[in-house]
Symmetry: C2
Subunit: 530 residues, 2 copies
C-alpha cells in the first residue's frame, strides 16, 4: 500500500503509515542493539552536571531533521547520560523491570493513543483495566471485597504517590463530611519512620497540617516494622487532644530495608477508631502471587486499600501502579467531575466505570494494555518463577555475605533485596592490627593506636558509616555495578536489590567480586595509615 | 548475535534482545496496518457496556501465550472497543494528535525504561527536559523569566490537572507560610464557568474549602471569556469578608468554545492582591509558536505559571503537559522530599535539577525524549505549518456553515475548533412551514400550529437543544465521524475540533456532508409531524 495523499504542498503527513513502518523498524533495531550492549556501559552514568547543554544547540531546529541523525545523537549524547536501569548490573533503588511483553503493551497503547478518561472515550481501555485488575487481584488472593465482583475494584494509577493521594483525599473527605470541612486542621495521619516519602508528600498536597503527620519510630530489634502498640498509644493521645485520626499508611516491603508492617494488628487498631488503612506494597506486592510469600499480606482484609507498582518488580514498564479499594464510591465522591462536555449516555446509565473519577488527572493512558500483555505473555506460573529467580539470586548474594565475616546483614532479607554493611567488628579488627582513621570536624585525622573501647562511640559509628559510604562510592565509581544506600537506626547501609530482568547469576557473582575487592582496598587503606 | 544464556532451566529471559527484535517488528507492522485501516472503523466505538468481560477468560492464564495469539485478540476484541482518536474522522473533544516522531520518542523512552526522579537516576532525562523546555518556551516567545536562562524553568507533567495542582499547592503554601497553616480554610481560588473541571478538582484535592472556589460567570456577548471587572469585584468582596485570595486559573482556549481570557487585565488585578495566576493553555498553547497567533497570550508576562499539553495539539503522544513557572523554588518548597535513600552528591551540590521536587509523584518517565524527537523531526517551520493546516481545515468547515443559513456559529472560531448549532431561526422556519414538536415531562408531544412568538421561550429553547442533541447523536451513530458537544449559556452546542494528524480536507468535506444530511433528516422529521 502506498502513502496517503496529503493536501498540503511539499509536506508529508506526520503519521504516514509507510513512513511509520520504516522508522518503527529502525527504532526496534536500535533498542534491541541497546539491550545487547547495555551490559558494557557504566551502569551509573558518569557525566557531569550540565554536560548536555554543551552538546546540544541552543534552540530547536527550524527545519526537519532526519531520524537517522537523531538516533546518532541518542547514541552519542543521550546514552552516556543514562543510568542504565535495564543493565543486568543494576542493583540500585528498586528495579524497573522491563520485559518484551511490557514494552509491546506500552507500544500498542502508544500507537492507539486513546485518551480513556471515561468509558465512552474508549470502552476497551476502561473494561480491560477492570478485567486485568480483577485477574491480578485474584492472583494476589486479595479478598473479594477488593475486586469488582465483590463491589470493590481496581484502578491503574501512575505511581504510588498518586495512589496514596487519591485514597487519602477520599478518607479525608469521608471524615470531613461528618465533622465539617472547617476541621481539616484537626485531621491526623500515621506512618512509620520507614514509610515512603510519598506519604508525607501526599499529606502535604492534600492539605493535612504538617504537624499532624505522625511518624512512629521503628528499630532494628523489630526489623524496622511499625509497632502497633506505639501506633495505638499515639492515636489515643491524639484523640484525647481533640484531634481526629484519619489515615494510616502501612507498608509491605519498605524502601530502606523491605520491612513488613504487621497488617492485622494495624488494621485492628484502625478499626477501633474508624481510620482508613492503606497498604503500600509498591515493591514487594508482586511476590504475593507466589503462595509461599502470600502470608506477608495476611491481614490485608482489614485494610481499605492496597497498592503495588507493576513497574517495579512485575515486568511492566513505567508507569503502572495497581490500586485496589474496597469502596470505590469514596474515591468517586472526592474525585468525580461532571462537566457538560464529557456527559454521555453510558455514564448516565451508571453501568460503566469512568476511571477519571478514580484518579487525580482527567486524561489517562491505556495502561491496562501492558499489564494484560504481561499477564498473558508469561502466565501465572512463569511470573512466579521469574520472581522466585530474583529471590534466589538475592539469596546467593546473601550466602556470599554470610561466609565473609567482614560483613553483616542489617535487616532480614525478606524478598530480593539484601541490606548489608561492613560490620563494626571488621573495622575494629582492622583497627587492632594497626591503626584507624576517624573524622573530626569533617576532616580525616588519624587516631593511631586507639583501642576499640577507648574510641568514643559516636566517633566509631561515624567511622563505620564513613567506611561504608566510601565503599559504596568506590563500588559505583567502578561503573561495573550500581547499588544505592540508606540510613537506618543511624547506620549507613548498602542495598543490593536484584530485579533487573537481564540479571543472571554471573552478574551477582561479579557484583560480589566488586564488593569484596573494594572492601579489601578500603579496609587496607584504613589499616595502613600510621 | 545469539540470545543471552539464561540461568533458569526451560525459561527464556523476558528481555532477550533477539526475541525483542522479532516481536518488536511484529508490533510495528501491526500498528502500521492499524493506521492504514483506521479510517474504515466506526470512529466512536459501538460496543455495549460489559462487552469485553463476555469475551475474555475469567482469570489470567497459568501458562504463557504466544504474542501472535494476543495480537489476534487485540484485533478481534480490543479494536472494536476503541474510540479511534487517531482516525482522520475524529473531531471530538480536543485532538490527541499522534505522530511518528512522538511515537518513536515514547518508544525510545519505554525501551530505556529509566526512572528519572532525580538528576543522578538518569542525568540525560533531567537535562534533556530542561533543554527542550527552554527550546519550546523560546518558540512560544515566553518571557525569559519563565526559562531556566531567566531563573524560571519548565517541567513536563502528565496532565494539566497535575500542573494546576502543583502550582496551586505552591501558591497555597506560599500564602500559608505568611498567614499560618491554620488558615487554609480562608483561602479562595478563582476561575470562570468556562475554566476546565481540572481546576475544581485540583482545588478539592489541595484542601481548598469547596465554598471558596469562585466561579465567575461568562456570557455569549463577551465570547465566554472571563470578565476582569467581575473578578476584581469578587476579590474585593472576599477580602472585605476576611478571606484570602490565593490563585486564579485563567484559560487560553477553553474546552467548551476555545475562549481566551484577557491575561493582561487578569494579571493586573491579581498583582494588586498578590495572587498567583496560572495560565491554562492546554489545547491552544501550541499555536502560539505561529507569530500570527502569539497575541492570544499577550499579558502572560504578568502570570506566575503557564502550561499547555503537547499531547493535545502538538504531535506528542499522551501524556505530556508542559509547565513553566517563574519561581521554581516555590514548587520545590512545597513538593520536595529528601529521604536518605535518594541522597546523592549531585543533589547536594545544588548544580542539578531534581524534577521529583517539581511534581506530585516521585517516579517519572523520560517524557522529554518524545518532545525532543518531535521538535527535531519536524522543526519549527513545519510544526507551524502543520498547526496552520488544521486551522485552515477548521476555516473550511466554518465556511460551509456560513453558507448554510440553517446553522449558526455560537462562538468565534479562534483556533481549529468550530462551535455551531442548528439555529433557532432554522427551527422556527421549519415550524412555520408545518408543525413542531416540543417536550413536556420528558415525552415528545406535538405542538401543532404553534407560532414562534406564542411558543413559551423556555419550551422553545428546550426544543432547539433537543434538536441539536439529536443531531449530534445521529451524526455519531453513523460511525462515519465523531464530534462532541457542550452547553454554554443554556445552548446545546456541537463542537467540531480539527486536529487528528491523519485528517485531510476530504475528511472535513465528508464530515460536513454527514452534518447536512443528518440535519435535513431531523428537520424534515420535525416538519412532517402533524
Amino acid at each position: 500500500m502506498g502513502s496517503l495523499n496529503f493536501d498540503y504542498p511539499c509536506m508529508e503527513n506526520p503519521l504516514d503509515p509507510e513512513e511509520f513502518r520504516r522508522q518503527g523498524h529502525m527504532i526496534i533495531d536500535f533498542i534491541a542493539k541497546y539491550y545487547q550492549q547495555v551490559e558494557k556501559f557504566p551502569v551509573l552514568s558518569q557525566v557531569q552536571p550540565g554536560y548536555l547543554r554543551k552538546l546540544l544547540p541552543k534552540s530547536a531546529p527550524y527545519s526537519p531533521e532526519r531520524i537517522e541523525t537523531i538516533l546518532q545523537d541518542v547514541q552519542a549524547h543521550i546514552i552516556p547520560g543514562i543510568t542504565h536501569w535495564q543493565s543486568p548490573n543494576f542493583f540500585a533503588y528498586f528495579p524497573s523491570s522491563g520485559s518484551i511483553a511490557g514494552f509491546l503493551g506500552e507500544v500498542l497503547a502508544t500507537g492507539f493513543n486513546v485518551v480513556g478518561f471515561n468509558w465512552m472515550s474508549s470502552p476497551a481501555a476502561s473494561e480491560l483495566e477492570s478485567i486485568v485488575m480483577d485477574w491480578l487481584g485474584e492472583m494476589l488472593k486479595l479478598p473479594s471485597s477488593f475486586l469488582f465482583a465483590g463491589n470493590g475494584g481496581g484502578v491503574l494509577q501512575g505511581t504510588t504517590c498518586e495512589a496514596i493521594l487519591c485514597t487519602l483525599v477520599a478518607a479525608r473527605d469521608q471524615k470531613l463530611n461528618k465533622i465539617g470541612k472547617d476541621n481539616i486542621g484537626k485531621l491526623v495521619v500515621y506512618g512509620s519512620d520507614q514509610t515512603h516519602s510519598a506519604f508525607r508528600k501526599a499529606s502535604q498536597v492534600a492539605g493535612i497540617h504538617p504537624s499532624n503527620c505522625r511518624v512512629i519510630k521503628t528499630s532494628r530489634s523489630t526489623s524496622f516494622s511499625l509497632p502497633p502498640n506505639a501506633l495505638q498509644t499515639m492515636i489515643c493521645s491524639d484523640v484525647e487532644a481533640g484531634l481526629i485520626p484519619v489515615y494510616i499508611c502501612a507498608t509491605m516491603g519498605t524502601t530502606s530495608t523491605t520491612a513488613v508492617d504487621p497488617l492485622g494488628p494495624i488494621c485492628h487498631v484502625a478499626k477501633e477508631h474508624n481510620i482508613w488503612v492503606h497498604v503500600d506494597a509498591a515493591y514487594a506486592g508482586s511476590i504475593c502471587i507466589c503462595p509461599e510469600f502470600r502470608h506477608f499480606i495476611d491481614g490485608v482484609e482489614g485494610a481499605n486499600s492496597f497498592s503495588f507498582n507493576a513497574h517495579k518488580w512485575f515486568f511492566t514498564t513505567l508507569d503502572c501502579c495497581c490500586l485496589w479499594v474496597k469502596d470505590p464510591s469514596s474515591l468517586i465522591k472526592s474525585l468525580s467531575t461532571n462537566p457538560e462536555y464529557l456527559r454521555n449516555k453510558a455514564t448516565d446509565s451508571k453501568r460503566v466505570v469512568d476511571y477519571k473519577d478514580w484518579q487525580i488527572a482527567l486524561s489517562r493512558r491505556f495502561r491496562a494494555m501492558k499489564l494484560w500483555v504481561v499477564l498473558r505473555s508469561y502466565g501465572v506460573d512463569k511470573l512466579r518463577n521469574l520472581l522466585r529467580r530474583h529471590v534466589r539470586m538475592a539469596k546467593l548474594f546473601e550466602g556470599f555475605l554470610a561466609n565473609d565475616e567482614r560483613f553483616e546483614l542489617v535487616a532480614p532479607r525478606n524478598f530480593a533485596m539484601v541490606c548489608f554493611r561492613v560490620s563494626p567488628l571488621a573495622i575494629s579488627k582492622e583497627k587492632n592490627t594497626s591503626a584507624v582513621k576517624c573524622e573530626k570536624n569533617g576532616i580525616l585525622i588519624s587516631c593511631s593506636g586507639a583501642k576499640e573501647k577507648s574510641l568514643d562511640t559516636k566517633e566509631h559509628e561515624k567511622l563505620i558509616n564513613k567506611i561504608n559510604s566510601e565503599l559504596l562510592e568506590s563500588i559505583n565509581g567502578s561503573g561495573r555495578v550500581y547499588m544505592t544506600h540508606t540510613v537506618v537506626d543511624g547506620m549507613f547501609v548498602l542495598r543490593f536489590a536484584v530485579g533487573a530482568t537481564l540479571t543472571q547469576d554471573l552478574h551477582v557473582v561479579m557484583a560480589w567480586k566488586v564488593v569484596t575487592e573494594q572492601t579489601t582496598n578500603i579496609l587496607n587503606n584504613y589499616g595502613k595509615l600510621p
